[in-house]
């Protein structure tokens, strides 16, 4: 009987990917300081469960590869092998390789085995090395290294072992990978055909294993079924018995050419040392021969460019592959689920209360209580909605953590010394946004590594510390999440960008541009100033893709740069893409929505507090702060009812670094609106972030306040005005 295991594949993949992430994170921690036992244990455990899982599901290739990794890790754990940078690198590459193999498996594609074989060979040669000096003795005491001997294993599974999802066959196959096995099946307890329960296991096995493995390795195979079977592993040499005639040999190992040598080791129960040495050498050599061409492929530039390739096509391919992964599940912390259950509980109570009310006689008192009940219901619904939204929220550390590896690898490659600082890792954002932001982030970080941070020599010459610093910072601001990528490198060269923009025809040589405007040019399509095109970045694709990707998420990206002190990219994204609280406002006959999170207050204007700057811009003196007034009707070219400022209302909103007032005719209801994309069928409209459908079925547009203020032509808000600047910082700290 065989269970359909495919239903568990998804869980296995998810757990394995998580395990790989954990391995990677720990490995990266290791490279900084001396191996910490706990980290090695974590890595080992992750590798072990991947091996176990893949064995159970019959993914032999992954199991056998992980096995080698695990064997090596085991030796490290026992202190018999060291874990220096090269080994960490090797392990990291194995993690990558496993990840690719698993990805291929999960998408039903054929996996590229050459890398695994190459890596396996590397591990095997490491395993073959004499162990580290101090432990040689203990190891030889523990087991005569390299000598092959027989293990006599009796494996009597309980009847119900199949019900627990374990498949003895896989265990036997796994044993076969340790060495040569001869399996004798005992069918004595098999009942008559009509009495067979198909879900019971009636067999037991006697296994002779000829291998140089340790007892723990054998035990490991049966570790998962320890409680569901009787198992006896003994070290005695196998005595020839009559049973050999009824042997059912599991021959997967016999097919292997390398085993031709081991064949003769059956006869002497203690083979001489020299023989086995020869044997293991030949084995490794064959593996190496297999691996040689594969290693070459890996070292070739095509491989490395594919790894770091930032061309559009790779991105596209990635996107499609991500699409498949998109259907995956999400892990939610239990307290979020608990709060959700609480909400539902309250909702049920409210519903019961309303139900009860509806059954009673209607009088004024009941109506009043009914209204209270409905208010309660509204409250519940909203809280429930917030809780559900929170389920989609994940800490940004999911994205940040991958950069540890990226920065490590790429800085090594470039011979730069870079320290990566992560701040605000716990800042939460929507899973969808997170998935879509990681590619643009990779571009930006890579850019900082490649162009931003200088070489150590250059840094020393500039009087800076040899070690460059890249900071990733995330925090909430209003209804947005802000992600900053800050490096302390050379900064953008405005002169170079200007020259390049002129040659590319983006600007005219006579154009007068501020440094800020020039810096923004790097987001134009086809723009790159890197003198040498490198693997990492500088092919002129990138920044414009970054910008458009971020804009597609209703976000914005900005750059600030100080020559010789560094560059700061500021990515601003909405927390969620689905719903927002909106304030409906009216201008003439048009209704717009201003996101409530942007609104600080709404007020009626006292005309005496309004001053006019240069005949163009009105500012309101709002308790000592000058707030520029944006007339919505003017910006959007609508007919307004309000002829003077005291007829309408001013909605004061928070913009980037200060405040602005949006002047409208009237405030209408506040309500939650479902955000619909305007760009799906139309194009980006300045000052509009999206659209929604109101209760009456008409479309209403959602105002993007930052964009609106830009359209209105008020720039540099908050600069040169101390009150506003101070206020905005205090806002942020709240």
């Amino acid at each position: 009987m065989k269970m359909d295991l495919s239903q568990f594949y998804q869980v296995f993949f998810e757990e394995s990917f998580e395990g790989l992430d954990a391995m990677e994170a720990e490995l990266l921690r290791l490279s900084n300081d001396t191996p910490d036992v706990e980290s090695i244990n974590t890595i080992f455990r992750a590798a072990h469960s991947i091996k176990g899982g893949s064995g159970t599901f019959g993914f032999e290739k992954i199991a056998s590869f992980t096995h080698v990794v695990e064997t090596y890790l085991d030796l490290v754990r026992e202190g018999k092998r060291k874990l220096a940078t090269e080994q960490v690198d090797l392990l990291l590459r194995s993690v990558d390789c496993l990840r690719d193999m698993l990805t291929a498996l999960s998408q039903n594609q054929t996996m590229d085995e050459s890398r695994a074989i190459a890596l396996k060979a590397e591990f095997e040669s490491l395993l073959d090395e004499p162990p580290t000096a101090n432990s040689t003795e203990t190891q030889q005491l523990a087991k005569p290294q390299g000598s092959k001997s027989s293990w006599y294993i009796t494996f009597i599974p309980h009847r119900e072992i199949l019900l627990t999802g374990n498949e003895p066959l896989y265990m036997l196959q796994e044993l076969a990978q340790l060495g040569e096995v001869e399996v004798v099946v005992n069918t004595q307890s098999l009942p008559a055909l009509d009495l067979i329960d198909v879900e019971s296991c009636y067999f037991s096995w006697q296994i002779e294993l000829i291998s140089d493995c340790s007892e723990s390795q054998i035990k490991e195979i049966f570790e998962w079924v320890e409680d569901d079977c009787e198992i006896n592993i003994s070290r005695q040499g196998f005595q020839t018995k009559d049973t050999k005639t009824q042997v059912t040999a599991l021959s997967s190992s016999q097919v292997k050419p390398a085993d031709e040598n081991t064949q003769f080791s059956i006869e002497p129960s203690e083979p001489t040392k020299s023989e086995t040495e020869v044997d293991s050498h030949t084995k490794i050599r064959t593996d190496k021969q297999l691996a040689e061409p594969a290693t070459k492929v890996q070292a070739s530039p095509t491989q490395s460019t594919a790894l770091v390739g930032d061309s559009l096509t790779t991105d596209k391919a990635k996107q499609t592959s991500q699409k498949i992964a998109d259907a995956s599940s999400i892990r939610v912390s239990i307290d979020k689920v608990d709060s959700l259950i609480n909400m539902v509980g309250e909702l049920v109570i409210t519903q019961a209360m309303l139900m009860q009310l509806s059954e009673s006689e209607f009088d004024n008192k009941v109506v009043k209580r009914m209204k209270q009940g409905l208010a309660q219901l509204e409250h519940n619904t909203r809280e429930l909605q917030e809780s559900v939204m929170r389920i989609r929220m994940l800490p940004i550390s999911f994205v940040f953590n991958r950069f540890v590896r990226l920065v490590r690898d790429s800085s090594q490659k470039l011979g730069k010394k870079i320290e990566l600082v992560l701040l605000g890792e716990q800042t939460e954002l929507d899973k969808t946004v997170m998935e879509k932001i990681s590619d643009p982030m990779v571009h930006l970080v890579r850019n900082s590594v490649d162009h931003g941070i200088e070489s150590p020599q250059e840094r020393m010459a500039a009087g800076k510390s040899e070690i460059g610093k890249i900071t990733l910072n995330a925090y909430h601001q209003g209804g947005n999440i802000v992600i900053e990528i800050i490096d302390d490198g050379r900064g953008l060269s405005t002169e170079k960008i200007r020259q390049k923009a002129i040659t590319n025809g983006l600007i005219n040589a006579t154009d007068e541009l501020t440094d800020e405007q020039i810096n923004l040019l790097i987001f134009e399509p086809g723009f790159s100033t890197a003198e040498t095109v490198s693997d990492l970045s500088g092919r002129g694709v990138g920044m414009d893709v970054v910008k458009s990707n971020i804009q597609a998420l209703n976000g914005a990206v900005d750059v600030e740069s100080t020559p010789n002190q560094g560059t700061k990219f500021k990515v601003r994204l909405p927390l969620t893409l689905a719903i927002l609280d909106g304030q409906l406002v009216r201008v003439g006959q048009h209704i717009y929505i201003i996101p409530l999170v942007n609104i600080i207050e709404s007020l009626q204007i006292n005309p005496t507090q309004v001053s006019n700057i240069g005949g163009q811009l009105d500012v309101l003196d709002l308790r000592g702060e000058y707030v520029p007034i944006v007339r919505l009707a003017e910006v959007f070219a609508h007919q307004s009812d309000s002829h003077s400022l005291n007829e309408g209302l001013l909605v004061v909103v928070e913009v980037d670094s200060g405040k602005a007032g949006i002047f409208v005719d009237d405030l209408l209801a506040q309500q939650q609106v479902v955000i619909k994309s305007l760009e799906a069928n139309y194009c980006k409209v300045e000052g509009i972030s999206g659209a929604t459908i109101l209760g009456d079925g008409t479309v209403s547009l959602i105002i993007d306040v930052v964009g609106l203020v830009k359209v209105a032509g008020i720039k540099n808000l908050g600069t040169g005005n101390i009150t506003i600047a101070e206020h905005s910082t205090s806002c942020e700290s709240l």
Partner: protein, 163 residues
Amino acid sequence: MIEEINKKLEQLNESASEDLNQYLSFFINDEEYAVDILRVQEIRCWEGATVIPNSPKYIKGVMNLRGTIVPVMDLRARLSIEERPYNAMTVVIVLKFYTVKDSAKISGIVVDAVADVHALKAQDIQPAPELACNVNAAFVKGLGRSEKGALILLEPDALLTIQ
């Protein structure tokens, strides 16, 4: 009338034939224009649209098509034909089109009235002559022939893509 054509549309989508292309025609002034019927998603009465600020003059705004936000374009304005007030015959034809980036979008066009469905063979379509005056050459795919006279075949991709 609209229902009739909508029904025809449904049948067509089920059995699109290869050699014979069908075109949905409609009027602007007395001229009969047409678009490939496979691009037509549906026909609706004009029910108004929400104005998009600072949009080109020919964009009437956006409408709600069962939860999707769809821009609506006034074909007269797009073709620089003098506008006239909408009446009971005015309809919106919702069309599918492809932008340069290869993504499919939908957009509505406001026309005076729908006319008919014509079947045209590829050889029946003549390339449009160098067009004078008010029709932008890029919008016209070619000229066909109906019982009443010339049929101006429009190219939705060029027509509906907004620069």
